[in-house]
Amino acid sequence: MSEVVKKFMYLNRKAPYGTIYAWESLEVVLIGAAFDQEVSLMFVDDGVYQLVKGQDTAGIGMKNFSPTYRTLGDYEVRYIYVDADSLAARGLTQDDLVAIAYEDMDTEEEIENIVEVVDAARVVELMDEADVVFSF
């Protein structure tokens, strides 16, 4: 029996900490990683704030889950997209975001950063291509 690999996209639209959505999404991604599907994460709107580097939650008494995004490559998340317009509207650039590395298990090919800023047309395409979109 051949394995059917589906394209799962996790769509993230909320800022971290203010609501539970960002953390819930991340947990579901980590748990779902065991199912050998092609997983991508899409960050649009306030979701782009999830990837901002240098987060330090010591002062607000909440868990800082920002470092956990950097392990997504280990969980075989291969594609991480950020909507360029959302970034620009918030005065941010890719330099403000964390880098997430990925290593291909079979080829041992290493990619330093899989975080990719894409334009709206590409977001449209990627959403169309996905078999399932999980919204957070």
Partner: protein, 110 residues
């Protein structure tokens, strides 16, 4: 059930994981291992320390697949396989070693 290490009491959850990761001292691993009838060797400590470093960096207890891969990268291919890791931690390298290391139960473990 709380565990006692050198006369100090540590709170744990219902599955025996430390309630507060910051409470951890190396003696915690020793006491937990003793309850499991396991003697901790240098090889066990390599994994426990590795897990603590991993948590420090990523704020997460890795799933067993991720642990295996990461151990292979850091400590060598001969250690980065499930046979070796299950040999050390028969109750499951991620679950058991994370518990000894004071980490929460790995995300995705049931």
């Amino acid at each position: 059930m709380p565990i006692v290490v050198d006369g100090k009491t540590f709170e744990t959850d219902e599955e025996g994981y430390l309630s507060n990761i910051n409470d951890w001292v190396p003696g915690v691993a020793g006491v937990m291992a003793k309850e499991d009838d396991l003697e901790l060797t240098e090889e066990h400590w390599d994994i426990i320390n590795f897990l603590r470093e991993y948590y420090e960096e990523y704020q997460i207890a890795p799933a067993v697949r991720v642990l295996t891969k990461a151990v292979g990268k850091k400590l060598g291919k001969d250690k980065g396989n499930s046979k070796y890791l299950y040999g050390l931690f028969p109750y499951g390298p991620a679950k058991q070693a994370c518990r000894y290391a004071g980490l929460p139960k790995p995300t995705g473990c049931v």
